[in-house]
């Protein structure tokens, strides 16, 4: 199993009560709450953590893209990947991912990712996402065009990498007389493509067909297992057997000496992430047209995802297998159990989450590197 250190780079000094009053940390939560003195320190703290992950032997580090939110400070993840490209020596660098429909020029991502692939001499992983619904409010992109823009931008980028230029491209949303980006990617024909999703069946089907690595975002492990089986079924339908290498599970892991200590330490930070930083009204999360009618009907009936939903406690999250928190033995046991249940080749682990300070994060990273990772390097099914 491979271990990636996935950072959301939250503004961990955020006033949680102010976020609660605003009903969301996204879009409408004023950036007056951002203090540049603290923010600058956070960028360095987090980038230092990523470099530490490399030295500890994590297989990769992950960044992602979100806009206008205290949840994550990476509207342009390529800048941060660039900052890491020369200091992270061995680990892969993954951007999971750029939100393609938000772009008015997808070629800029073809260029940016190709530079990163060259800078890292082929240690780069390219992630493509649609972005969550809030992004469409923040960036002024029509959510009803999200799917179509994603497809077009994806096709253009992959073609720009694989096909010698110049060629011209005339789509509905994007038109270019000349497609001829310099540099070309370092990896041939292109960097690996990973596709994170909350579990949309059309995304899973599409990723399986193109043999892209599918990354399941924070979800109960039973749900993760269900979506991974869907991927395997789709792979079979496309005439091949999917390997665990094509499946990645995004989670949070926290390790301390005892179960009790781990839960006590992780609790406020995890609940700040899940209960405050991640929450938003349904209208913000799912703008019209962003998802299909059936899903909208279902969600409207339950009004899931909103602030009015009961916040999840750390116990709920551990019980559902969204996160793993505990002593080294507990974490090894759970991870092995979940690996047997869902089958995945990579964990994308948030070692820092919510409001967690630097010392705790580093202790957690070191514990994972020493107590967990070595046990999953061979024969994952008999680990623990």
């Amino acid at each position: 199993m491979k271990f990636f250190n996935f950072h959301l780079m939250p503004y961990r000094h955020a006033d949680l009560q102010a976020i609660e009053r605003n009903a969301s940390a996204w879009v409408t939560f004023s950036n007056r709450h951002y203090d540049p003195q603290l923010g600058a320190e956070l960028y360095h703290e987090y980038l230092d953590q990523m470099e530490y992950a490399d030295r500890l032997g994590f297989d990769g580090v992950c960044l992602n893209e979100h806009h206008q939110t205290a949840y994550g400070l990476m509207p342009t993840p390529g800048v941060l990947a660039g900052a890491l490209a020369r200091s992270v020596k061995k680990a892969q660098i993954a951007i999971l991912g750029r939100a393609l429909p938000l772009l008015n020029n997808p070629l800029s991502v073809a260029e940016e990712f190709a530079i990163l692939d060259n800078l890292t001499r082929g240690r780069f992983i390219a992630g493509f996402v649609r972005g969550i619904g809030a992004e469409y409010h923040a960036m002024g992109i029509n959510p009803a065009e999200s799917q179509a823009r994603f497809q077009e931008a994806h096709d253009l980028i992959v073609r720009a990498w694989a096909e010698p230029g110049p060629f011209s491209y005339t789509g509905k949303y994007y038109q270019f007389k000349y497609v001829n980006p310099w540099p070309r990617p370092y990896q041939s024909p292109r960097p690996p493509i990973w596709v994170p999703s909350q579990g949309s069946s059309s995304t899973i089907e599409w990723a399986a067909r193109l043999r892209y690595t599918y990354c399941q975002t924070l979800s109960p492990i039973e749900t993760v297992a269900k979506f991974f089986s869907m991927y395997r079924e789709q792979a079979l339908r496309n005439g091949y057997e999917a390997s665990n290498e094509q499946l990645a599970w995004s989670n949070c892991i926290y390790v301390a000496e005892t179960d009790e200590k781990a839960v006590r330490e992780a609790k406020p930070h995890l609940e700040a992430l899940m209960g405050t930083l991640l929450k938003m009204p349904m209208e913000m999360l799912l703008p019209p047209g962003y998802t299909n009618i059936e899903a909208m009907k279902r969600i409207k009936a339950t009004r899931a995802g909103g602030f009015n939903k009961k916040p999840q406690t750390i116990d709920d999250l551990m019980k559902a297998g969204v996160v793993i928190v505990g002593s080294p033995a507990t974490v090894r046991e759970k991870l092995a159990e979940y690996e047997r249940l869902a089958g995945f080749g990579t964990v994308l682990t948030k070692t820092q989450f919510g409001t967690m300070p630097d010392d705790m994060t580093r202790a957690n990273m070191a514990a994972i590197a020493e107590e967990i990772i070595p046990h999953f390097r061979t024969q994952p099914k008999t680990a623990a």
Partner: protein
């Protein structure tokens, strides 16, 4: 109250529903807003004495599939101009509310000769700087009723009205098509305002005096851009005059269209 006869019309490859109230040589064509055909309430029925009132449902609304060609408001403007020609409706009195007002203005810019008059009710389509408007896409359904209706008791009544699954589904689809048409730039076309001087038919700008979705400053801006436009403010009324003040709106439209009929004659 006057009951409509519903029929399915076809323009090019697209079937759509058109309700007809009354009959006569004069035609009023009602273009509905984001909330769909039903948001005209009793207004077309009230105007059906002596005129034919046509209330189409925009393709993609009311639970119908959005046609592949539907990307923007100009598409619907061309669609309805084609409808008027194909049905040989003659010069119609065009009445548009909210999104329908935007479509109507776009039609009038493109071809005023298809029209006898233009009535814009709480119309989208232009932008007025520094006037706070409601972000309708960030409001819950309940909040939207409160934002849209001046009378709080009526807002509660409308919000609490029982709805069938089919109506819920239609509402979700209406919102999706509305987003497709109005999300960005939000509820306007920056290129429309510069051609509004081309509107050469009598124009009425009718507005709820307490409209919070598009405040009366928008009425003023429309009236200032369309030559000779008349204004009719409706007191104690929000963004949905057809539901909140149907008698007042119907009477304003009746007076205006009959006087512009005599102008044209």
């Amino acid at each position: 109250m006057n009951q409509p006869s519903a029929s399915t019309m076809r323009v090019r490859d697209t079937d759509f529903r058109v309700d007809q109230y009354g009959a006569g040589s004069t035609t009023l064509l009602f273009l509905h807003g984001s909330d769909g055909r039903e948001s005209w309430g009793e207004v077309p029925g009230r105007l059906a004495g002596g005129a034919r009132c046509l209330v189409p449902e925009h393709p993609g609304y009311g639970g119908t599939d959005a046609p592949a060609w539907l990307d923007n408001v100009a598409d619907l403007a061309n669609f309805y101009l084609e409808f008027i020609e194909r049905q040989s409706l003659g010069r119609v009195h065009l009445v548009g509310h909210d999104l329908g007002g935007w479509i109507a203005a776009e039609m009038a810019v493109r071809n005023s000769s298809a029209l006898a008059s233009l009535t814009l009710v709480s119309a989208q389509g232009i932008h007025v700087e520094d006037v706070p408007v409601v972000d309708v896409f960030l409001r819950t359904d309940e909040e939207l009723w409160t934002d849209s209706v001046f009378d709080a008791a009526l807002a509660r009544e409308l919000a609490g009205a029982p709805r069938s699954d089919a109506q819920d589904l239609a509402a979700i689809r209406n919102k999706e098509v509305t987003a497709r048409l109005t999300w960005q730039p939000r509820a306007h076309d920056p290129h429309l305002a510069k051609w509004l001087h081309r509107i050469s038919v009598p124009t009425l700008v009718a507005w709820g005096a307490e409209d919070r979705i598009l405040p009366p400053a928008y009425a003023e801006a429309w009236a200032g851009r369309v030559a000779g436009a008349e204004r009719q403010d409706i007191a104690r009324c929000g963004h949905l005059p057809a539901l909140e003040k149907p008698a007042e709106l119907a009477s304003a439209i009746a007076q205006f269209t009959s006087s512009s009929r005599s102008h044209n004659a």
